[in-house]
């Protein structure tokens, strides 16, 4: 088992002094007029955005198998004429909009992978006001935004001083554990000034702080010397159910925010076969690293005790752990984003996230996560079946341009 890194709860970032000044933004009416122009130009690019969204969305891309999507992205970047297009060793796809000065590098990123591997029909349906299909909300829109953003800047004749690096990352979800973005950040030859993580939904979110995270699988296996002849033998499921019971009894504080998600449970092969192995997949999230460490210890104690009592082998396989932390709400980056969002009529929803932001945080790069439209899951029991609204997309893209501009100008002035 891996120990969580030693740190206290949710710290802000003092180490790095980015070139982001606290300049005074322009008057609200000027900003509003500017943003409205961006929105109008984005509306004219609706079809291009939707077409790429559909193309991305219908390419299967489970974690560790994102090649086809990244290839499509790289081809699009080629057609658009971006600079420095590349696919790195882990499959991350990148292109650069070269800035007029090019001294600073702003990163716009999103993950290319999707959760489920065995979707047979990944068709996206276009309705009058929305798109419906697997993963349209996670994260096809954000990928389409990467390929549409250069066109939008071109239409607006907007050239930033900074280089804008557009990045689609691989190995982000599940066991991928942000491996792609971490690899990119560790090996990038361009120092990144700030990062903007794009998510598809929900428009209005503004994440500047990351939750700490502990993600793992608990395996309950029958030992080699298990007594199969014993009448009433229950196999691995009953001990696992006790583990589940005990985890659900762990007391969680309301502050700092903490939760344990029991995401998946799998075990057995047939009605009449004793289950030899059962696996529980869980994720604990907290704003406090100390609490996460306590949870990890409690889970370890539970599985040790249940395993000893029931005679089965129970192990914890930690597949991801992240420290909490991020920016202060008073950070200039957060303030500038809220100003842009306000000019668009968006009321920012501030909460902690577990997205790619934490990879930026790990290397002390200030970053935010924002989203591009609104959406919902059609059926709460089937989390892959999503629908997203088309109309807000222009607002979402205008927001990206506005925030990038604000960062580029070091304060909208």
């Amino acid at each position: 088992m891996t120990d969580l890194p030693q740190a206290s709860s949710g710290k802000s970032i003092p180490e790095r002094k980015p070139e982001i000044s606290d300049a005074v933004p322009p008057a609200p009416d000027i900003l509003k007029a500017r943003i409205e122009k961006y929105k109008s130009a984005a509306e004219n690019l609706r079809d291009m955005l939707l077409a790429d969204l559909i193309r991305f969305g219908e390419i299967p891309a489970p974690t560790f198998a994102e090649e086809q999507r990244i290839r499509f992205l790289a081809n699009r970047f080629e057609e658009i004429g971006l600079d420095h297009i590349s696919i790195d060793e882990l499959g991350n796809g990148m292109g650069v909009i070269t800035g007029s000065e090019g001294r600073r590098n702003l990163l716009v990123l999103t993950n290319a992978d999707t959760l489920v591997k065995d979707i047979k029909d990944q068709t996206i349906e276009v309705r009058a006001d929305r798109l419906v299909g697997p993963f349209v909300g996670d994260n096809s829109i954000a990928l389409a935004a990467l390929t549409t953003l250069p066109l939008l800047l071109e239409r607006l004749k907007l050239r930033f001083k900074s280089n804008i690096i557009l990045l689609a990352t691989t190995r982000s979800l599940e066991r991928g554990n942000l491996e792609g973005v971490k690899h990119f950040l560790a090996n990038s030859e361009r120092p990144i000034e700030a990062g903007l993580c794009l998510e598809s939904v929900q428009l209005g979110r503004l994440n500047y702080h990351c939750m700490g995270l502990l993600r793992g699988d608990i395996h309950c296996r029958l030992p080699g010397n298990y007594n199969w002849a014993q009448y009433g033998t229950t196999g691995s499921i009953i001990p696992m159910s006790e583990v589940v019971n005990r985890i659900s009894q762990i007391a969680l504080p309301h502050r700092p925010l903490t939760t344990i998600i029991l995401g998946m449970i799998k075990g057995g092969i047939a009605y009449n076969n004793i289950a030899r192995e059962t696996v529980l997949s869980f994720e604990a999230r907290s704003e406090s690293l100390d609490i996460l460490s306590q949870i990890k210890q409690q889970i370890t104690d539970i599985i040790t005790e249940v395993g000893a009592r029931s005679g089965v082998k129970i192990t914890l396989d930690v597949i991801a752990q992240r420290e909490p932390g991020g920016l202060d709400i008073s950070h200039p980056l957060v303030r500038r984003a809220t100003t842009v969002m306000a000019a668009l009529g968006l009321q920012p929803t501030l909460y902690s996230t577990t997205s790619q932001l934490s990879a930026l945080r790990d290397v002390k790069i200030p970053g935010l996560t924002i989203a591009l439209t609104t959406g919902e899951r059609r059926n709460e029991l089937d989390e892959i079946d999503e629908s997203v609204a088309i109309a807000p997309l222009a607002l979402g893209l205008a927001q990206v341009v506005g925030i990038l501009q604000a960062i580029d100008e070091g304060g909208i002035s």
Binding site: D47, M48, L50, A51, E79, K120, D121, V126
Partner: protein, 349 residues
């Protein structure tokens, strides 16, 4: 205007019709020179340059009836890629048969030109069937090349259009390009491979093998996606229903031979499955089209009057009952014979 098919076909003899014994080309040779994969035309930019050099206009027609689930996606993908990103298409139109769902509204909201078939050349009356829409599209659209793509495709991609138009831009002798593909049919939420083309394999291919062996080289003669030059289409009669694709193949072959055809592999087409009884109706309409030409080409002197009622059976509560379907495969005359068309396009027979 009533079509006298025999008279019309005879009038084509100014261009000697191909007989099965003359101008015969080897099917294998034709396959190697006139069969393509869409990826061979993926350089859309160069297609656009060549199209502009030839001063061609290209129109895309989506014939539709109650296709609200798929029409929006088709329009977005084709328009974004082939009109906005690359100006290959000059026009994208939906010719609707009178949908009762949101097909027309959705199509218009995504920027297609939308027409009701009955509003086009209304003085010639209203017929029901896809062929009617295709025929009226010739009057409504302005392209020198018309691409027809069915509106029920769930996996539409831009290559459906550029793959079909590519041979027409590259090969002046080609008049008509047909799609073929591996066709999974949507079943519930899943997809199963193959199983499509039952009418092709059971009806069309045996008929072609009997009477027009060269046409068997067309891998999917009933595919709903094809592109053709106006100057060819305007001279063809159009069955309004199931027989339109078969009629096109027979009449083009009869007039220009195999060199007028090309075909393009579009990989995969996902569409709704058709129940067997619906395929029976299709086959019935195709037989009417086929035998009418059999007579017109002079293969037989006396064709007995053909029935127009298809009789099928179903079992209800242990009793068999007959279902009668009236299927009259009417044909529209070559549109070049219509005065309004002649005036609008300045083209005459």
């Amino acid at each position: 205007m009533k079509l006298n098919l025999r008279k019309w076909l005879r009038s084509l003899t100014g261009h000697a019709p191909v007989k099965t014994t003359q101008k015969k080309i080897q099917v294998v040779d034709w396959l190697s020179t006139h069969t393509f994969h869409h990826s061979q035309f993926a350089d859309i930019k160069s297609l656009v340059i060549e199209k502009e050099r030839q001063n061609l206009r290209i129109s895309l027609c989506l014939p539709a009836l109650n296709e609200e689930k798929t029409i929006g996606k088709e329009i977005i993908l084709l328009k974004a890629e082939l009109m906005k990103r690359y100006p290959l298409l000059d026009e994208l139109a939906v010719i609707d048969s009178g949908s009762t769902d949101q097909t027309r509204e959705i199509a218009a909201s995504y920027g297609a030109s939308v027409y009701l078939a009955r509003d086009i050349l209304p003085q010639y009356g209203e017929r029901h069937g896809k062929g009617e829409n295709l025929w009226k599209a010739l009057y409504q659209l302005r392209g020198d090349i018309i691409i027809y793509i069915d509106a029920d495709i769930t996996n539409i991609r831009p290559h459906f259009a550029y793959g079909l138009v590519g041979p027409l831009i590259r090969m002046p002798e080609v008049q008509y390009v047909k799609a073929f593909y591996d066709r999974p049919l949507t079943v519930s939420k899943g997809v199963r491979v193959s199983g499509g083309g039952r009418v092709t394999e059971i009806q069309i291919r045996p008929l072609f093998s009997l009477f027009f062996p060269e046409l068997t080289a067309i891998i999917q003669p009933l595919s709903g996606e094809y592109a053709a030059r106006r100057r060819a289409l305007e001279r063809l009669p159009f069955p309004v229903g199931y027989g339109v694709e078969t009629a096109h193949l027979l009449d083009i072959y009869h007039r220009w031979g195999m060199t007028a055809f090309a075909q393009t592999d579009l990989d995969q087409r996902v569409h709704r499955n058709q129940p067997t009884h619906a395929l029976g109706k299709m086959a019935f309409g195709i037989y009417q089209t086929f035998f009418r030409r059999w007579k017109a080409y002079g293969f037989i002197e006396k064709l007995p009057p053909m029935g127009t009622v298809l009789r099928q059976f179903q079992n209800r509560d242990g009793r068999y009952e007959q279902i009668e379907s009236l299927i009259r495969e009417e044909e529209r005359p070559p549109i070049i014979t219509i005065p309004e068309y002649q005036r609008a396009f300045g083209r005459y027979p």
